[in-house]
């Protein structure tokens, strides 16, 4: 029975001549007390049933996307001589981290209709529905999200950083900065030819605070009162200890 089902599934799938076989240096990122960013090595191979097709060369896109969250973008304007936040636009969902690596310039690797369909480029990964009527240039707010996050290495477009050898083996490394948000990081690999996606593969990288960091963070959210009291207890104890140590030193 199972075998029949498997054959049926195989028949139902689109016949893809080229498929991705993926390897990763790590599928978990642990945010420890001395976490200072992380480099993730992504490598893989293209599996083929037949000879390499004629035409444009095969290209590879790797995209890693952190959890999306709504954010408020505020713009400063000069009021009474000082710079004050005035207008704001809520962006419905923007990934906290987004890195795209390609094996050639982005425009050559992926056509614009394919980008709309698969949402791969950085601007297409941000979803913004309604800006208030008072704001005319809501696009500049979305641009600001990209600019600010690029400046913090949270958004990266690394064109040509995927090494692709003999149309078969590919590898790239993606640097993740220290200020990461926790969650499942969606990792997508696309094979394209002439700007059209021929195969895709998806997996996840788990980014998580561990150990003390995890414990403190959870405590501060779930038991804020206990967390606050604990902070105070530490403060009072160290205040007492400092006083005691130094009176001891003065006497001794």
């Amino acid at each position: 029975m199972l075998r029949w089902l498997a054959i049926l599934v195989a028949l139902a799938m689109p016949a893809s001549a080229e498929e991705v076989v993926l390897g990763m240096s790590q599928d978990k990122v642990a945010i420890t007390a001395n976490f200072d960013g992380s480099e993730i090595l992504i490598f893989g191979a293209v599996k083929r049933e037949e000879a390499i097709p004629e035409g444009d060369p095969l290209q590879v896109i790797v995209a890693i996307q952190g959890p999306s969250e709504p954010i408020t973008v505020r713009r400063k304007e000069k009021r009474f001589g000082i710079w004050v936040n005035t207008q704001s636009v809520d962006v419905d969902a923007a990934p906290s981290f987004y890195a795209v690596a390609t094996s050639a310039p982005f425009d050559e690797v992926l056509g614009s209709t394919e980008d709309l369909r698969y949402k791969i480029s950085i601007p297409s990964a941000i979803r913004s529905v309604g800006a208030p009527m008072t704001v005319q240039d809501s696009q500049s707010f979305t641009d600001a999200v990209i600019r600010v996050r690029k400046a913090n290495s949270l958004f990266q477009l690394n064109e040509g950083s995927v090494e692709f050898s003999q149309d078969t083996l590919f590898k790239t490394s993606i640097a993740m900065p220290a200020n990461l948000t926790e969650g499942a990081y969606r990792t997508r690999i696309y094979l394209t030819r002439s700007g059209v996606v021929v195969s895709e593969y998806e997996t996840e990288i788990d980014v998580r605070k561990v150990g003390l960091e995890r414990w403190l963070y959870t405590l501060s959210r779930q038991q804020p009162l206990i967390y606050g009291l604990l902070s105070l207890a530490i403060a009072i104890f160290s205040g007492w200890a400092a006083s005691a140590i130094f009176t001891g030193l003065r006497r001794g």
Binding site: F35, D36, E69, V145, S238
Partner: protein
């Protein structure tokens, strides 16, 4: 060595934080101030989110004031009665301050408010201190003109009088209550103990003897900042324990070293140095507000959850 702060969610150099704690500790030991008004802006400069800096600094002040008040209790230079009255005002003020803070946070104006408060208060206190210590130096050069004793004014005409034995005062509870409320609001908004406001207010406004002023203000500050820490921890989740501990360790040792250095310098020279430093921090903050920022847009979590 980089260390990741779990609540601030940034990675900073641990030695930088220890060093900052140490330097501010030395200064606070030298000048007899809490140091919160210097530490919080310094935390802004190294990239700690202002909301976290303010809440965490309140936690650190609990430690340094507790350490300080123990010495004063031994010397019997704490007016517990006056401290309690100030404290009642302080708790009300802290609650108001956190309310204002949370309201402005949802409006996206909290950074501006905190920075404006700093520019305003650092500017006023720094300028007053600078002028006052210049005068003191000038006075010490031509002896004979002793400072005049202040006259008793409207403060003594107010009702609800109470006897404060340690301070040797018989005054209305209203002025200390108001001072307490103001300091409480400042503590919550600025992440400071408020000693640099309260000490002058106690001497000049309430007419308390100088020897009990520092101890009493420390006593009050412990409870107000402890309350502020709890409020921030339970409503904003912005107290970063790792950051607080690193600052504490540096600060506690710095304070003891600072006290030694302080005894070797003249009081007027010390005050003028402190005034210059306060004005420098104020100038830097004001400059940032006045000059067009390189990035006009800022991102924040969407509020209202």
């Amino acid at each position: 060595m980089q260390i990741y702060l779990p609540i601030a969610e940034v990675s900073v150099n641990a030695f930088l934080l220890l060093g900052l704690g140490g330097i501010v500790g030395i200064l606070s030991g030298m000048f007899g101030v809490g140091g919160g008004f210097l530490m919080t802006p310094l935390l802004f400069f190294i990239g700690i989110p202002p909301a976290v800096a303010v809440a965490t600094e309140a936690n650190q002040i609990v430690a340094s004031s507790f350490s300080g008040v123990l010495a004063h209790v031994k010397r019997k230079s704490v007016d517990f009665r006056m401290g309690t009255v100030l404290l009642i005002g302080g708790l009300v003020g802290a609650a108001l301050g956190v309310l204002v803070f949370n309201y402005l946070k949802s409006m996206g104006q909290v950074d501006l408010l905190v920075k404006l408060c700093y520019v305003l208060f650092l500017g006023i206190i720094g300028a007053l201190m600078f002028v006052e210590s210049l005068n003191a130096i000038r006075r010490s050069k031509k002896p004979g003109s002793a400072p005049k004793r202040k006259q008793r004014g409207w403060i003594h005409a107010l009702p609800f009088k109470m006897r404060f034995r340690t301070s040797g005062l018989y005054i209305s509870v209203i002025p200390p209550l108001i001072v307490g409320v103001c300091v409480g609001i400042l503590a919550a908004i600025m992440g400071v103990g408020g000693g640099f406001i309260m000490v002058p207010a106690m001497i000049y406004l309430l007419g308390m003897p100088t020897k009990v002023v520092v101890g009493t203000s420390l006593f009050q500050i412990i409870f107000v900042t402890a309350f502020t820490t709890l409020l921030h921890a339970t409503t904003n989740f912005t107290v970063d324990m790792v950051l607080a501990v690193l600052l504490l360790v540096g600060g506690v040792f710095g304070a003891q070293i600072g006290t030694r250095i302080g005894t070797k310098l003249k009081a007027e020279q010390l005050r003028i140095l402190l005034a210059i430093m306060v004005l420098t921090v104020c100038g830097k903050l004001a400059f940032d507000l006045l000059v067009m920022p390189s990035e006009l847009y800022s991102l924040g979590a969407t509020g209202g959850h």
